[in-house]
Symmetry: C2
């Protein structure tokens, strides 16, 4: 069984040097296109004005054109009368100055006596209210340099200097070739049947990225993991394009043929880059074209593109690649990272009080939502072992700072009504965004204590008193002044497969030998509730199969139950309904938001509370089922 | 004669409030489009995942799928043999885990004994190398909120969550209507004849700006200044669009009908805004559509768009308008500005030493090159009387900081070879840009003295010694250590109309009564040369008609001569040739670059010198004619 072994792994820096060398293989031609469609294209040569702008001396105001000398001596007291058609000619802004005239008197400064004569009450000076020829652009002067990306403003300057067509660099043609027998084309997906293949989406993401970077992408349909098919496709297509991106097939698996094909038909410069995600990337040459192997996991694919392909495209155009705006932030927790590998950690960023905090999103290279939800990237350099909570670091922002400043940062337990809240907030107060992170109820209170968030969502039962949340505040928040506002009451219960095939009726059935359970993580309100209920029933947790296995959200638990991997998990009705599961009620609990008093006057936090109190929010919550909104929006502390 | 009088001028702030109110008239619909074409579009509602991603438990590695429990106890010393097809099944990354299996062992960790059996040397743990269903996206969970502008990443997330089509907000339809009898369509321009109309370019600039801001523009052909034509066009088109931009016709001229039409057919909310450029803008409503009157001067048009239309479009989409990156800079000179008016000063920005400096570009509202050449905008607030050289202010950047950092700032006398130099620099060292400003030779030395630039270009003759430039250094630069590098020798002479119709032969002919002259500004090398030559000939300057009238560049002088407004001006051969003028040589002069020693080791400055010394630069200079490159690139001090 033959499998690939990575060449000695290259540093990202070295890989970028190689990618820059590969850029040298691409030579863009010229093409002539209409100026009015040229925005975003790149000039192939300097552009020199064909004509001047304005193309003649012209009136800068509506009025009469005169020869200034003929008006000398005119005053309020001694107005001068000039004859129309001879000494004075009516003129509008932009019209050419008639021969012999050298000044314009504004319409509001003259008095027309009759159809032949006009009275002037102030002398004009030469060139008064005249735009001289070439005031803006002088014929033959350089309007734009070569290798300049055309803006809307440039379109105006080009038209004014006599251009209707312009020579620009051709777009580099980029072949995007997805490979893998495990993949299905999006258009072939039939949602009414269970999927057995993974939807191919990377090629479409790359397609859009290539367009944004000025290239001309062409996507090839999925090619199966077959040496000859991949090889023949590459050989037949290579000559038609400037650059090849081949997706997947460059890992260390047995059916990863990309490398051996390029080794045979071209040359490999790097295989395996010290970056995460993105390690399996490959740099090579085939038919004298650069070929870049893009890893198959979505985040890896995007990172490999952005680090290795985007700079190459900018270099080919001879343009400077703009960097993302950087912001100094504090990580909300310690994040160890592998020495010798540059890691691209996706983070949410929010300004809480006077400080910007970055909370890491899931690190898996398969999790594209870690990019779509991210506010930016925290680069952990290869010589670092990670970042620390107390140490300021830089984040490269995906979104403008204005957007990030509107993030209300909520940390705590997950609940489906938070999505509703986020959406209504956006509907009512568009700029404000509720950025929520699921770390469980206790995690939320700890984040609040550390000042990392504006509000925490908790549903922590105090087993001694039967009271929710408030008994925990003193212990976890100390003297911090907070308000507690009820979000909802919600039903917790056992989620089981549809039609309850194993006939569960209560928590006691979890003791059955044929029942496997999935638990929530320690510190989550659901876990505390479960332990409380088990204690009331005198059930020993270790007797439950799966008690030790933990998931972090209701939906993750529901999803495992739905897939049949486990039989039951404790969760909320809305999650069960979402995945079409049966639900056996166990208890009703209170879910509150805890908000430090110091943030209560911040407009964005006020708007969150207003939205919770809106009629529409309560209506939408009730529509989910399993919720009670009788105290929603009430101040409980 | 009826003419418009502005309504009481509105502050820009008030105008923005009105524009925001007008946004409320626009209600976007929904449309369903393919996901793979949806980048840049805006979601009309929150998007909830149709399916989970991955859609099943799948292998995260190539290898064999097993039930972890069946491998317990396996070690290097006591490998366990499992039967293929029963206890173990070969699996590739992304493939679904077969029923009953819950772990994957990597291909590199197993040994295949024969076609039926595999040896395992280490126990697998449950869920090892498995991507659980929904690891990335759980069905029903919110993938994207409403009013979200779709990125390439989002395309991936949407496809993975089962979407092939998606509902987005429709694009606001924007009618762009240029008006003015003085205008000509770009396509109707015939460059072989002299132009008598101004090329209409504003509508095409607005067209591109609307596209960038997510709208769907439609441009109407030019409509003449005719009340009924404009009115009928507006009435017939209004219902087809969401927003009307009418260009020009909103000034105070007699033929400015926009306002009276809107007054008659709708309502005017503002006419005349305290902004510069952009004052004549107008805000109104017609057929219940917002109508915005865009001034006719190009910079006014763009500023009015960016301040009043762009925010409206963002608001209609419920998106936050991203702000430009801001940079703190020092102005290179005092700039008085009108109290009560917000001025948008276009500036070049460069980092010289450790400081960022902003040099103002021409302020005229007709000068579009003041935008195309600008690195950013310096906003002078309405309550300020201007900016001061010594006071730090903020600039909003048009270009990324990376690009601005590569600006080599040159100030001084203008010469056509500087365009050649800038272009070659870009060809040889793409990121570096020579940003040059024409303020004359003395102006260059003063800028150098103040630390505003990296290098100055001068051709200052010392009449006493006949030496160029070096005698001036002590006087103007004091003890500053500098290098002087020759750029070129060039011929100065009288530029006269083609075929020299007035038969000029030398400077003496400037005394003739029938000859009008145009001079260069005081402090320019050309002016000093002229005065020197006149003195040698004992000519009294005041005897020359036009001696007191000044222009700032060779090309401006040449352009006036070419238009026939004057008969002669002193300038360089290349300028005369550019405009097809005759040239009567007067003198040869030395044009040098003066560079402070502290900048000589900066890479970007080094590259400028290298480029000057290149063979290609000298060749291209010689091709212009009128230059001598025998000392080009030589260090003269």
């Amino acid at each position: 069984m033959k499998r690939n072994i990575y060449l000695k792994k290259k540093s990202l820096e070295e890989a970028k040097r190689l990618s820059s060398m590969l850029a040298g293989l691409i030579h863009l031609g010229d093409e002539t296109i209409p100026v009015i469609q040229a925005r975003g294209r790149v000039t192939s040569q300097p552009i020199f004005a064909k004509i001047s702008s304005p193309p003649f001396h012209c009136a800068a105001m509506d009025g009469i054109a005169v020869r200034a000398e003929s008006t000398y001596g005119a005053t309020e007291d001694a107005p001068r009368v000039v004859r129309l058609g001879q000494e004075a000619i009516f003129i509008n802004t932009g019209q050419p100055l008639p021969p012999g005239m050298n000044a314009v008197i504004m319409i509001e400064d003259i008095h027309q006596i009759d159809s032949a004569r006009v009275e002037i009450r102030e002398a004009a000076y030469p060139w008064q209210h005249v735009r001289p020829i070439g005031e803006d652009i002088v014929a033959t002067e350089m309007v734009l340099p070569a290798s300049h990306k055309l803006t809307p403003y440039d379109i105006g300057a080009l038209l004014a200097s006599g251009y209707q067509k312009i020579q620009v660099k051709t777009k580099p043609k980029v072949l995007i070739l997805p490979t893998g027998s495990e993949l299905i084309e999006p258009k072939d997906v039939n949602l009414s049947e269970p999927l057995t293949k993974v939807i191919e989406s990377n090629s479409y993401v790359l397609h859009q990225l290539v367009i944004e970077d000025g290239g001309e992408p062409s996507r090839h349909p999925i090619v199966e993991d077959d040496f000859d098919q991949i090889r023949n496709t590459l050989l037949s297509k290579a000559k038609e394009v400037d650059l090849i991106l081949i997706i997947a097939g460059s890992s260390a698996g047995t059916r990863d043929y990309t490398r051996s094909i390029i080794e045979k038909e071209g040359e490999i410069y790097a295989h395996g880059i010290s970056m995460m995600p993105g390690k399996p990337a490959l740099l090579g040459r085939m038919k004298n074209r650069p070929i870049i192997g893009i890893p198959g996991y979505p985040v890896s694919a995007i990172m490999a593109y952005e680090e290795l392909v985007r700079p190459l495209l900018y270099q080919v155009f001879q343009l400077i690649k703009p960097e993302r705006v950087r912001l100094r932030v504090y990580p909300t927790r310690n994040i160890p990272s592998k020495l010798g590998t540059e890691e691209f950690l996706r983070v949410n960023v929010g300004k809480v009080g006077e400080t910007f905090y970055a909370s890491p999103l899931p690190r898996g290279s398969g999790i594209i939502t870690s990019l779509t939800k991210a506010d930016g990237i925290l680069r952990i350099p290869s010589l670092s072992e990670g970042v620390e909570e107390s140490r300021e670091v830089e984040v490269e922002l995906f979104r403008p700072l204005e957007v990030i400043l509107q993030n209300v940062v909520m940390v705590g337990s997950h609940d489906l009504t938070l999505d509703l809240l986020a959406n209504l907030l956006r509907e009512f107060y568009p700029p404000i965004f509720l950025s929520s992170q699921s770390v469980g109820s206790l995690g939320g209170l700890l984040a609040l204590k550390n000042g990392f968030c504006h509000l925490a969502g908790t549903h922590l039962l105090d087993p001694e008193t039967g009271e929710y949340n408030i008994p925990y505040l003193r212990t976890y928040l100390g003297e911090m002044k907070v308000k507690v506002i009820n979000l909802v009451y919600r039903e917790q219960g056992l989620m089981v497969q549809r039609n309850n095939p194993k006939g569960l009726r209560s928590l006691k059935d979890l003791l059955r030998e044929d029942i496997s359970f999935i638990n929530r993580q320690k510190g989550s309100g659901t876990r505390i509730l479960l332990d409380h209920e088990l204690k009331k029933l005198s059930i020993e947790p270790t007797q439950i199969r799966g008690y030790e296995r933990e998931e972090y959200t209701h939906m993750a638990v529901a999803s495992l139950v739905a897939s049949g991997m486990v039989d039951a998990g404790l969760g909320i009705l809305s999650s069960a309904k979402a995945l079409n599961l049966d639900f056996i009620p166990v208890s009703k609990e209170r879910y509150d938001l805890v908000i430090p008093s110091i943030y209560l006057n911040e407009e964005k936090v006020e708007k969150v509370i207003e939205t919770i109190r809106s009629k529409k929010f309560k209506e939408e919550v009730l529509r989910l089922g399993g919720y009670d909104v009788s105290k929603t929006g009430e101040e409980l502390l």
